[in-house]
Every structure is written in structure tokens, then in C-alpha cells.
């Protein structure tokens, strides 16, 4: 019995060593696991806020164009026409900065032939019924699109 107990001392030392190693692991872990990790899954919860807050907005959305004293006349005309579903920024580009401050951020000038052709040029892959398709070059015969068509009121 005495022999067994004296041998058990080795086991106690081993156990203490394991315990020390485990505690060291916990300390290191506390340093390396970022705050908020694991709250809702295997990720840092703060990422949701980071992605949400650290990406600037470029497209203001069509609602930002039709405010009073801005372009409400255009949005009103557009709403009743066949381009009603087309967002302002679909053609005019990202304009959140312009909506925030109309003075410093002017809308970009448009390459209307390119823009119109994207939807209205004949293309066998384009489904019929959503856009009127024309063979652009013979159709325009050297003229600019806006000489005949108003993109804000295409049906008129």
C-alpha cells in the first residue's frame, strides 16, 4: 500500500502539469478569441455591425429623387408611363451623394445610345414582351434617341 501511494505522487504531478497546461490554454484562448465571438454562431457578432456601418451608400433609391422641390415632376410623369418600373439610377447612375447635396454632386451625363440599346436593341436572348426591341442602327438612322423619344415619357 505504501508503495502504491508513493508511486501515486507521480500521478499527482502529472495531473498538476495537465491542469497548468489547461489553465494556460484558457488564458491564451481568452486573448485570441475576439469579443462577441460565438454569441449567435461561429462568428464575431460585431461583423454584422461592421458590414452594415462601414460600407458607404452610393445608390440613394428612387424614393430619394421625387422629394418636393427636386424632381417630383419627372417622377410623376414616369409613374404613369411604361418606364414606371425603371429606377432613376438605372440610367442616371449612383446618385446618393447628389441626393444628399445637389450642389456639389451633379448627375453624370449619359451615353444615351448605349443605355437605350442595352434594353431595346434586338437580341435573340432577350425575352419578348418586356421591352420593345428595334434594330438600332436602321431605326435611328443617324439620329440621337432623345430627338424622337423622351425616356421619362416613352409612350407620349
Amino acid at each position: 500500500m505504501a508503495q502504491v501511494l508513493s508511486d501515486a505522487k507521480h500521478l499527482v504531478r502529472l495531473a498538476l502539469l495537465f491542469l497548468a497546461g489547461f489553465l494556460l490554454f484558457l488564458v491564451i484562448r481568452a486573448f485570441f478569441v475576439p469579443p462577441g465571438f460565438g454569441e449567435f454562431g461561429h462568428f464575431r457578432t460585431g461583423t454584422l455591425q461592421d458590414v452594415r456601418n462601414n460600407t458607404p451608400l452610393h445608390f440613394g433609391g428612387r424614393a430619394s429623387c421625387g422629394e418636393a422641390d427636386c424632381h417630383e415632376d419627372v417622377t410623376a410623369a414616369l409613374a404613369t408611363d411604361s418606364h414606371a418600373r425603371v429606377g432613376c439610377e438605372s440610367c442616371h447612375g449612383a446618385l446618393a451623394a447628389h441626393a444628399a447635396d445637389p450642389e456639389i454632386a451633379k448627375a453624370a451625363t449619359l451615353d444615351e445610345l448605349d443605355l437605350c440599346s442595352r434594353c431595346h436593341a434586338l437580341n435573340p436572348a432577350r425575352p419578348e414582351g418586356y421591352t420593345q426591341q428595334v434594330d438600332i442602327e436602321p431605326h435611328r438612322d443617324g439620329a440621337a434617341c432623345s430627338e424622337c423619344h423622351d425616356a421619362h415619357e416613352p409612350s407620349s
Partner: protein, 259 residues
């Protein structure tokens, strides 16, 4: 700190049996739900998108809008969304057993539109907008060795850029080819479903500019969201359902040739 015997046993056992992270999560799990993020309760949303192939006219405005909105590198192979054109030749009546090979192209990711392409007579062709499927059980998040990419409680798959190592496991794991390594930061990059927009009540940039409403963002946890009606009125399908990824891009008019 005053503990009665029962409380001591419960918390002590939880501490011993759970990892440190799980110990912190335990109170929330007991309460039954995650708390609110300020101004946006991510437990109340489950984002998805409805994509109508029969309405996509291949204008490429979505690709352009995504690049601008999210400051994505301009090269075509760094694209968070892109549009593919499928051209499927007809079955040859002389040899109906012959394999039909679809021709797929996406010039500049579709950003500049699609110039008409000569096709075999009788071919069918259509456009397929592609982007991250925001899978509920995504293979890309399962392989991340550092927990830098994940599917959030609102169903959006995101990347934690501060912890991404750039190891590219997730790029390989995505069955839809939706990830790439951002050359500027050497971290994984992908569609965030415009998380900075949808959490503020706006729609995604691609949906905002889509002239035919071929793309519609939807919140499946909101019973009043129009996406429920769209899903009810169309016969929809997801890409690669055999992989059981829980993909949440619902395609209307998806041809079997689309991969």
C-alpha cells in the same frame, strides 16, 4: 456573488461542459432568442431573392450597380454578381441522342450588356443573373478555419474581413463560384446582399436598378413581403438543389441546362 447550491451546480456544469464561447451564449439560448441589433433586429428577417429569368433582358445594369455600390474591383473575374447568357442548340432530329452542349458566355461579367451573337437556327437563349445564393447551410462557411465567414441570423452570408486569412478554402467550397479573393486586401470577398442597404430599409443595388423587376429582394420572415406572392404564383427552382445548400435565390423559368 451569492450562489445557492442549485445555481452553483447549473452554472458550474455549464462551464465545465461548454466551451467559453458557448458559456457566454448560454443565457441567450435559455432566453430563447438573440437580442436586438440597434435599429435592426436581425432575428426578425430571413433574406432571399426572387429572380425571374423570363424577365431578365441582359442589360447588365445590376452588374454595374453592384460594382459601384460595393466598390468591387473593376475586372470581370472579381464580380459579386454577373449575368450569363445561355445559348442551347436544338436537338438534332437526325441524331436525337447526341449530347446538347450549351454555350455560355458573360462578356465583362455582363456589365456592358450583350451584343447579339450568331446562333444555330432553332437555338434557345436566355440570360441568367448569378450571385451568392446566401445558402442556409452553406458549404463555404463550413470550411472556414477561423470563423471569418458565416451565415448570420438573418440568412445573409458575410465575411469578417478583419479575421479572414485569405486561405481560399471558401472560394473552392462555393459550388456556385460566387467568391473571390479581393486583390487589394487579400481577403475573401462576396455578395453581402447589400447588407448596409437592406438593414436600413433600402433594397439591394442590383434590385434598385433592375428595369424589369427581374430581381426582387424579399424577407421571408415578413408575411406581408411581396416575395411570398411571387413564390406562390411561379414555379421556382434553386441552383444545384442536389447539394442541399439551402440556396435562397429562387429562380423562375430556370432551365435544366443552367449550372
Amino acid at each position: 456573488m451569492n450562489l445557492d447550491r442549485r445555481q452553483f451546480l447549473v452554472e458550474g456544469t455549464a462551464f465545465l461542459l461548454l466551451t467559453g464561447a458557448a458559456t457566454r451564449a448560454w443565457p441567450f439560448i435559455e432566453q430563447g432568442r438573440p437580442q436586438d441589433a440597434p435599429g435592426y433586429d436581425f432575428s426578425q428577417h430571413w433574406w432571399a431573392m426572387f429572380i425571374d429569368i423570363e424577365k431578365c433582358i441582359g442589360c447588365g445594369r445590376c452588374v454595374d450597380a453592384c460594382k459601384v455600390e460595393n466598390n468591387v474591383p473593376p475586372e470581370a473575374y472579381f464580380s459579386r454578381t454577373w449575368v450569363e447568357r445561355y445559348i442551347i442548340p436544338p436537338i438534332d432530329p437526325e441524331d436525337p441522342m447526341a449530347e446538347i452542349l450549351p454555350i455560355v458566355d458573360s462578356p465583362n461579367a455582363g456589365r456592358d450588356g450583350f451584343p447579339p451573337k450568331p446562333t444555330v437556327d432553332g437555338s434557345k437563349s436566355f440570360f441568367v443573373p448569378k450571385m451568392c445564393n446566401h445558402c442556409a447551410d452553406s458549404p463555404c462557411t463550413q470550411v472556414c478555419p477561423v470563423g471569418a465567414t458565416f451565415r448570420g441570423p438573418d440568412g445573409v452570408v458575410l465575411v469578417d474581413k478583419t479575421y479572414c486569412l485569405g486561405c481560399r478554402y471558401c472560394v473552392q467550397a462555393c459550388p456556385y463560384g460566387c467568391r473571390f479573393i479581393d486583390p487589394r486586401t487579400n481577403t475573401a470577398d462576396k455578395c453581402t446582399l447589400c447588407y448596409h442597404r437592406i438593414t436600413k430599409g433600402l433594397t439591394t443595388a442590383c434590385c434598385e436598378v433592375c428595369p424589369t423587376e427581374a430581381r426582387v429582394l424579399g424577407d421571408l420572415r415578413n408575411p406581408d413581403d411581396p416575395i411570398h406572392q411571387l413564390l406562390r404564383e411561379h414555379k421556382v427552382h434553386v441552383l444545384k438543389p442536389d447539394l442541399a445548400t439551402g440556396a435562397k435565390l429562387y429562380y423562375n423559368g430556370l432551365d435544366g441546362a443552367v449550372r
